[in-house]
């Protein structure tokens, strides 16, 4: 194995375990993240695999396909994080509202 494979494969595996546990409540995101990380391992270990797959999809270069997949993963992850933030903001608003009503200054 090449040095880059020794570095990337453990990183991908660590991310799979770590994110897999943290994303327990979000099955769609977990599936997407695992899919991309497994693809990352396969493309790292079997260097030509991305080119074969890219050719099959009509993309041409394997590296282009990896970029497309990365952008897709980044976009979906950002959206999921944004939605999570919105849910947290909603809960925060409820707490702030409850407190404001309890501490009202009446005429």
């Amino acid at each position: 194995m090449k040095p880059i494979q020794w570095i990337l494969v453990p990183v991908f595996l660590f991310l799979m375990v770590s994110l897999g546990r943290r994303l327990k409540g979000q099955p769609v995101l977990r599936l997407l993240v695992w899919g991309l990380l497994i693809a990352g391992i396969i493309f790292t270990v079997f260097e030509d695999s991305s080119t074969y797959l890219a050719n099959a999809l009509g993309i041409g270069r394997g590296v282009d396909m990896v970029i497309y997949l990365s952008l897709l993963g980044l976009g979906v992850s950002s959206l999921m994080l944004y939605l999570r933030t919105r849910r947290l903001e909603q809960r925060l608003a409820e707490i702030v509202r409850e407190q404001a009503i309890q501490e009202v200054d009446k005429p």
């Binding site: 849910r87 702030v96 407190q99 005429p107």
Partner: protein
Amino acid sequence: MINPARICLIIPAYNEATVVVPLLSSLLKLGYQVVLVDDGSTDNTKAILSDHAIHYLRHRINLGQGAALQTGMQYAKGLEADYFVHFDADAQHDPKEIPKLIAPLVEDKADICLGSRFMQAQNEVPFSKRLVLKGAILINALFTGLWLSDAHNGFRAMNRKALEAICLREAGMAHATEILSEIKRNQLRYEEVAVHISYHGYAKEKGQSIWNAFNILSDLIIRKIFPL
């Protein structure tokens, strides 16, 4: 003639210390109940309002106008009032128009009345604002199915039925479209009422920027696809 003490004005305020005192004085003189929701102001709003006969609620942090209105509405449910009016703190609305706005509620023709600045000729709406508002009318119609003559007009009045039914979850300015969705969801009777909006210097300075319209639109699209 309705007793003004049975009318509750809900006023969201964020850093409006310079204009809110004369506004409150005129509203209190007219005999209305006032619920002011200070949305985490960092100016001296709290200090200058301490001697006013109002219901003063304060958000510890700034959440947005929609969240402030929801706080005011939730609190107002416990007050002895029949009609509830959303009123801006930046003196854009005319207190003398409140009786006109609630008239359809009193006559039991509607559950909620929405102010419209485009129903009377004397409103000189700046061109850029007019353009954005016309776009917002279209967007409101696409999102809610309600075709109105105005959009994002903060001057509204509702009866207790509407107050109990409407629940705003949009903390920011997208609440103005969400209210229309709530009207539709709860099958509330609505009516538009011509009102005057004053475009004086302070209100223009504090008002929504045109670019904010894009933020509102993106909030609406995301909410439509991924409801809270």
